[in-house]
């Protein structure tokens, strides 16, 4: 028994250590602070920013300059952590009395974490806010009204103000978050695979028939072992994968007021076209075949020659694909009911918590992070910066990198149509748990359920959720 006892003692020690480790980690930032803030004495903080934009400085000047402030900032994309850290460091260099406690948490855990922090009244001062959650957060009174700041500091000519409506309170019209970039979904395609199959690249106005024809030629079983080595296309129930096709067929999932789920015929047609790609034409795998591979890795691994997802994946693709093959981006193919292009796009924003103790400083930070200071090398790959001079600059096109047609992003953004975002979206869409619409479509695409059953089931489920918000 003796070794067993020793083992148990060690075990208890391990638990204790783990517990201590945990609490230390939490306290760490506090310990580091003084070191970062020391330079405060040497340099008066106000000078530099004041030089650029006099209007902005009014609120900041109200804060006593020698007061040491720590402000938390949460961001949802760990793959941009390094770039974002550079921006944060720049801000801190200009504000020696300010420490930004910057953290990234990947989605969808990001939302669970924020949700818990909001319940605990402990939200970070500044955090990323998505178009999918903003309505909910405004109506729960969790966000700070930034309209006065926007009126004072923002020159509308310099920003893509068209997307500001998404972050407005539907009643008062005030803005409760500030967009930093515009994102949209695109069709990624593997140029090398297209060349090898002798298929011309996708063009604007590409139809579903042309897309299907290409997908058939791109689906290959190289060694004839019955396992497809390269599918023409792949997708699952994810919002970016599905809605893109629905809108390009002039379809709608929601009623006009976006208060109820009511998929129209065009939307159903899009869903059944997608299902036929798997079960009729065999040009796309059942989603369960890709289990164990991160969704953003399927296209880079060459398992599918085409992929529809957000343009924000451009950065990831550059990293994952490297020089392995050439690739490009194109519009989503048009369905038979399309009357014109309808892109699926929305702004990504930064918001201030209603509980933030330094809203002036928080706004100054947001203004800094979304304005001219974010030069092209610090932007987010496929996201279009909200600040026009940067978005419209030659450098934004990044001609030295793939894809070589980034100007398409700017053009395609003009065709932005509807979205499915509502309060409770995460729940009925199944964004956070893979159930809801995503899960029911998944059953169809996995061949476990038929489309009619799934649509009935999702209508009941989604409306159950929406009824809670719109009785």
């Amino acid at each position: 028994m003796k070794p067993l006892k020793i083992f148990l003692v060690l075990l208890i020690l391990a638990f204790l250590l783990a517990a201590c480790g945990g609490s230390q980690a939490v306290e760490e930032p506090a310990v580091e602070e003084p070191a970062v803030e020391e330079p405060a004495a040497e340099e008066p903080a106000t000078e530099e920013p004041a030089a650029e934009e006099p209007a902005t400085e009014e609120p900041a000047a109200a804060e006593p300059m020698d007061e040491e402030i720590t402000m938390r900032y949460f961001m949802w994309d760990p793959s941009f952590e390094e770039t974002e850290q550079i921006m944060v460091d720049k801000f801190m260099a200009e504000h020696p009395n300010v420490t930004i406690d910057f953290q990234t948490i990947g989605t969808p855990d990001y939302w669970t974490k924020l949700e818990a922090l909001s319940a605990a009244n402990d939200l970070p001062c500044v955090f990323n806010m998505s178009a999918g959650f903003v309505d909910q957060w405004i109506s729960d009174g969790l966000l700070y009204d930034i309209q006065p700041y926007v009126d004072a500091d923002i020159n509308p000519d310099d920003y893509y103000t068209g997307v500001f409506d998404v972050v407005r309170d539907k009643n008062s019209g005030d803005m409760y978050a500030f967009p930093f970039a515009f994102v949209e979904t695109v069709l990624f395609y593997n140029k090398d695979a297209f060349d090898a199959a002798g298929v011309p690249y996708p063009t604007e106005g590409w139809t579903w028939a042309e897309f299907l024809d290409a997908a058939q030629k791109l689906t290959k079983d190289d060694n004839s072992d019955g396992v497809i080595d390269q599918y023409g296309f792949w997708f699952y129930g994810r919002y970016a994968h599905i809605e893109s096709w629905v809108y390009q067929n002039n379809g709608r999932f929601l009623n006009e007021n976006k208060t109820r789920f009511a998929a129209d015929d065009n939307a159903i047609e899009a869903l059944s076209f997608l299902d036929s790609l798997i079960h009729e034409y065999g040009v796309a795998p059942e989603p369960k075949e890709m289990e164990g591979i991160r969704q953003q890795d399927v296209f880079p691994l060459g398992l599918a020659a085409m992929w529809v997802d957000g343009a924000w994946n451009i950065n990831g693709n550059r990293e994952n694909i490297g020089d392995q093959f050439n690739w490009g981006i194109a519009p989503i193919p048009r369905g038979p009911q399309a009357t014109g292009d309808a892109a699926y796009g929305w702004p990504d924003s930064m918001a201030i918590a209603a509980t933030c103790e330094h809203p002036d400083l928080a706004w100054e930070f947001i203004n800094f992070m979304t304005g001219p200071e974010r030069t092209i090398d610090l932007t987010f790959g496929g996201k279009i910066p909200i600040y026009k001079p940067v978005a419209l600059s030659e450098e934004f096109l990044e001609k030295d990198q793939q894809p070589d047609n980034k100007e398409f992003l700017l053009e395609w953004a003009n065709y932005t149509g509807p979205t499915t975002f509502t309060p409770g979206w995460g729940e009925w869409r199944g964004y956070t748990d893979g159930a809801g619409l995503e899960g029911r479509l998944g059953e169809v695409f996995n061949g476990e359920s038929d489309l009619d059953t799934a649509v009935n089931s999702i209508t009941e489920h989604a409306n159950g959720v929406l009824e809670r918000y719109y009785p």
Binding site: L4, F7, A14, A116, G292, I293, D433, A435
Partner: protein, 291 residues
């Protein structure tokens, strides 16, 4: 040792205090919350039995309940049988047996996130070790997609959960086995009892108090299962592997429905309570404290 009447109460006070503040208090709050609509950020709104009515009328809830039962049916016998076999294996007097005891105990103390990474890779449809073995060595033509398959996701989770949990129960069984007097076996073998007879007539009956204890805690473990689901499937595909504890978490923390989640929690408490009650009633019939 003289002490006043109060002294013993002072000694138990810290525990009672902890129980009241950290267990009974929250339980009472949850009981109240289950009658309200409450998203935590705004004050609760009284709904009377609204949450309970919704609960019994929701398909997803019954699916989750069925999943929980199925998980329990795989998990409890799986853990009990395997841990007993393992305890008997490591109860032998072999050189270096302590090493194996430690080895079998390892999964129990390994972080679930690390375990999940490895098992997800094992279960992966196309590039997973399991399907590689099935197709190449056993010539299975079309192996399942395990974690992404409606039918297989939950059993796959249960297998991982058994693998992870079994070391702990083994340890308790081992302690039980070592308390069985060796003289009984000696006497039995002199009387000509086979190993098999010894197991069923001596080992099992003498272990029954331990077995009962293990049964109760394993059932509770099964109903409470969360980590495995959270790290491996997130309840997917389409809730096929969602179990009650995970469903409670989802409603409370991702859908912001603390009231509904509390109603679910009350239901979970009820079934755990009833199961434990029944077990204790059956105890007198099944458990022998001496031969």
């Amino acid at each position: 040792m003289k002490h006043g009447k109060l002294t013993p109460y002072l000694f138990v006070l810290p525990t009672i205090f902890g129980l009241l503040v950290f267990r009974l208090g929250p339980t009472a709050v949850a009981a109240y919350a289950s009658f309200t609509r409450w998203n935590v950020r705004t004050p609760p709104e009284f709904l009377a039995l609204g949450n309970y009515v919704e609960l019994v009328n929701t398909e997803t809830f019954w699916l989750v309940f069925r999943n929980t039962l199925l998980f329990t049916v795989i998990f409890v016998p799986g853990v009990m049988i395997i841990s007993l076999l393992m305890a008997m294996m490591v109860n032998q007097k072999l050189r270096g047996i302590a090493f194996f005891r430690g080895l079998y105990f390892m999964p129990y103390i390994t972080a679930m996130v690390a375990v999940a990474m490895v098992w997800r890779w094992i279960f992966a449809t196309r590039f997973g070790v399991l399907n590689y073995a099935l197709t190449n060595f056993l010539q299975v033509a079309d192996p399942p997609a395990w974690l992404a398959d409606k039918t297989w996701a939950l059993p796959s989770l249960a297998i991982v959960a058994v693998w992870k949990q079994v070391g702990f129960q083994m340890l308790i069984f081992l302690a039980g086995l070592q308390s069985v007097p060796g003289s009984l076996y000696e006497a039995a073998s002199i009387d000509g009892a086979s190993k098999r007879q010894q197991f069923f007539k001596i080992t099992l009956p003498l272990l029954s108090p331990i077995t009962f204890f293990i049964f109760v805690i394993t059932v509770i473990d099964a109903f409470k299962t969360f980590e495995v689901t959270f790290t491996m499937t997130g309840g997917g595909p389409n809730n096929a592997s969602t179990t009650l504890a995970y469903y409670i978490y989802q409603n409370a923390f991702t859908f912001g429905r603390m009231g509904y989640a509390s109603a679910l929690a009350m239901f979970l408490m009820l079934i755990v309570g009833v199961t434990t009650f029944i077990s204790f009633r059956m105890k007198d019939r099944l458990v022998e404290y001496a031969l």
